[in-house]
């Protein structure tokens, strides 16, 4: 009832693990596969080993989570065996990768074997990476094109909401040959400890995820669905099956789940069964509700 083909990849359900969540070790990815995810996106992997920002790097706020991990990763040279272990979970594994320029991206993607690549041009708090690239349409097009030239698997581009017009970045990814866009990464945000005046995050500022950003994501997905010919993958604040349905109605062909895993590692199974019950009750299919908000 929930199966689909996403950029040519068969998925048993449209619920994927978002990048940066339980995604550094093959063992943790495998656990999420066994918990019912339709596909797994790894932690963003770069050229060299990176330890990330100092702690606190993630803190719960009233309406979600604030994080500035700082792209910690073991480098692509030490990551293939983690992907291979993750594959033992029996679902597609998508490698999230980041770099400072098109050359970095093509070098990393050319060396890793995965079912697809998700290009992180949207991390809001890493100097010289992520959103510092992903806010420039020309760079996004260039990087997408460079990766497409070296891999023969689908390439997804993850977008930042921290722009005036997300459609122009989505269109740039599409021009570069992207097979899908993923929206949204976290929203730039900050919290301050009023006892001391210190910004709480080690990096001072970071990105907001969780419930607060869900309506922002819905609007971005809605806009991208209208503007693009390639599929949109929705992510940002999904915590139950109703959120998942809403994202798909806005125009997401599949969704990714992140922060909500902290409180409920069985969320994939919970959302799957909630969606199935909803479809049975409404006599609707996944295909029928896809982009429904644009058609009513």
């Amino acid at each position: 009832m929930l199966s689909l083909k996403l950029t040519g990849i068969p998925l048993k359900n449209p619920l994927m693990l978002a990048a940066g969540i339980m995604g550094t070790t093959g063992g943790s990815l495998k656990r999420i596969a066994h918990a019912g995810a339709g596909a797994l996106v790894t932690k963003s992997i770069g050229l060299e080993p990176k330890s990330g920002h100092s702690n606190p790097s993630m803190v719960e706020v009233d309406c979600g989570y604030l994080n500035a991990m700082g792209l910690p990763n073991p480098s692509y040279k030490n990551f293939q065996h983690e992907i291979d272990t993750a594959k033992e979970g029996g679902v597609p594994v998508i490698a999230s990768i980041f770099g400072g320029c098109a050359f970095d991206f093509s070098q990393i993607s050319g060396a890793l074997h995965a079912d697809a690549f998700e290009l992180n041009v949207s991390c809001p708090h890493a100097h010289g990476y992520g959103a510092e690239i992903g806010t420039d349409p020309a760079l996004v097009e260039d990087i997408t094109c460079a990766v497409k030239n070296v891999v023969d698997v689908p390439v997804w581009v993850k977008l930042t909401p921290n722009v005036t017009n997300i459609k122009s970045i989505g269109l740039a990814a599409q021009r570069g040959g992207a097979d899908a866009v993923v929206a949204i990464n976290t929203v730039r945000a900050m919290a301050i400890d009023i006892e001391s005046g210190y910004p709480i995050l080690g990096n001072k500022f970071g990105g907001l995820s969780g419930r607060a950003i869900k309506p922002i994501a819905v609007k971005c997905i809605y806009d991208l669905y209208e503007a693009l010919d390639i599929p949109v993958i929705g992510v940002g604040g999904i915590s139950d099956w109703k959120d998942a349905i809403e994202f798909i109605m806005a125009g997401a062909q599949a969704i990714e789940i992140g922060s909500a895993i902290g409180n409920n590692i069985n969320i994939f199974k919970d959302i799957s069964s909630g969606m199935e019950a909803f479809f049975s009750e409404k006599e609707w299919t996944l295909e029928e509700i896809y982009g429904m908000a644009h058609k009513v």
Partner: protein, 248 residues
């Protein structure tokens, strides 16, 4: 949760390298739970609660060194208590503590003995001066000592003191991982619990940096039943800040 402001009310020097920091706030933990201790402007690190309102810290890096500069009236940020503590059993329990690993075991010893549970502790350290919480364990039951240099008790590792496993209803262990692995290989895992240390980043079960295979030390642990740790990286590998595998 955001960090709460925890004001230091007393600092006790336990050994030449280990101090206990008492706070005016009680965290009401289960023995074995930990807090994320934020030394503002430096770093945030996981620390076992050694009392309801205290952490016991060995000076090892930048954050702990900065913490050692603080005294009465200073404050740090605390998130917690977090994670899963020791699963408490009745009968006759054995505690095996190495170095600062005694920190989460001392409150377990006290709570258990106050409930009439028989407690035996094997306490090890490099030297006599580095033995942590000896008096607390002695008050709670029998104590056997081992030191690397033989300055007190048996010369050698605390693991050499393990015998008569069959008389214990439960075995609790915390210390350096190499020592815990020796215990792991020597005791019946179905009645053993281990408190693990890993590099913890988010502290809320999301990022996966502290994972031992699929197990999140920050949320599913830090205490794990021995059975659960079979055929995992425990005792062999840990992850550094980058997520690279490094030998224990």
């Amino acid at each position: 949760m955001k960090p709460v402001n925890a004001v230091i009310t007393e600092v006790v020097e336990e050994t030449p390298t280990i101090r206990t920091f008492f706070f005016e706030t009680s965290f009401d933990p289960e023995p074995g739970q930990f807090v994320m201790a934020w030394i503002r402007g430096i770093d945030e690190i996981p620390m076992a609660l050694s009392y309801d309102n205290a952490i016991t810290v060995q000076k090892v890096g930048s954050a702990t060194s900065a913490l050692f500069e603080l005294g009465n009236g200073d404050s740090i940020g605390i998130r917690g208590p977090q994670g899963k503590g020791f699963d408490r059993k009745s009968g006759h329990i054995l505690l095996i503590a190495g170095g600062v690993g005694a920190a989460p075991l001392a409150p377990l010893a006290e709570k258990s003995s106050s409930e009439g549970i028989q407690v035996t502790t094997l306490l090890g350290a490099k030297t006599k001066e580095e033995l942590v919480f000896r008096k607390r364990f002695e008050k709670a039951g029998d104590v056997l000592i081992a030191t690397d240099d033989g300055s007190d008790g048996k010369q050698g590792y605390v693991t050499q003191l393990i015998e008569n496993n069959e008389i214990y209803s439960q075995i609790y262990c915390c210390g350096p991982e190499i020592m815990m692995k020796k215990v792991f290989d020597k005791v019946p895992l179905s009645k053993a619990q281990f408190s693990l240390h890993r590099y913890i980043k988010c502290g809320v079960g999301i990022c996966g940096a502290c994972c031992v295979d699929g197990l999140r030390v920050c949320l599913d642990g830090p205490v794990f039943p021995g059975d659960v740790l079979k055929n995992t990286e425990f005792g062999f590998y840990k992850r550094n800040e980058c997520g690279e595998r490094v030998k224990v």
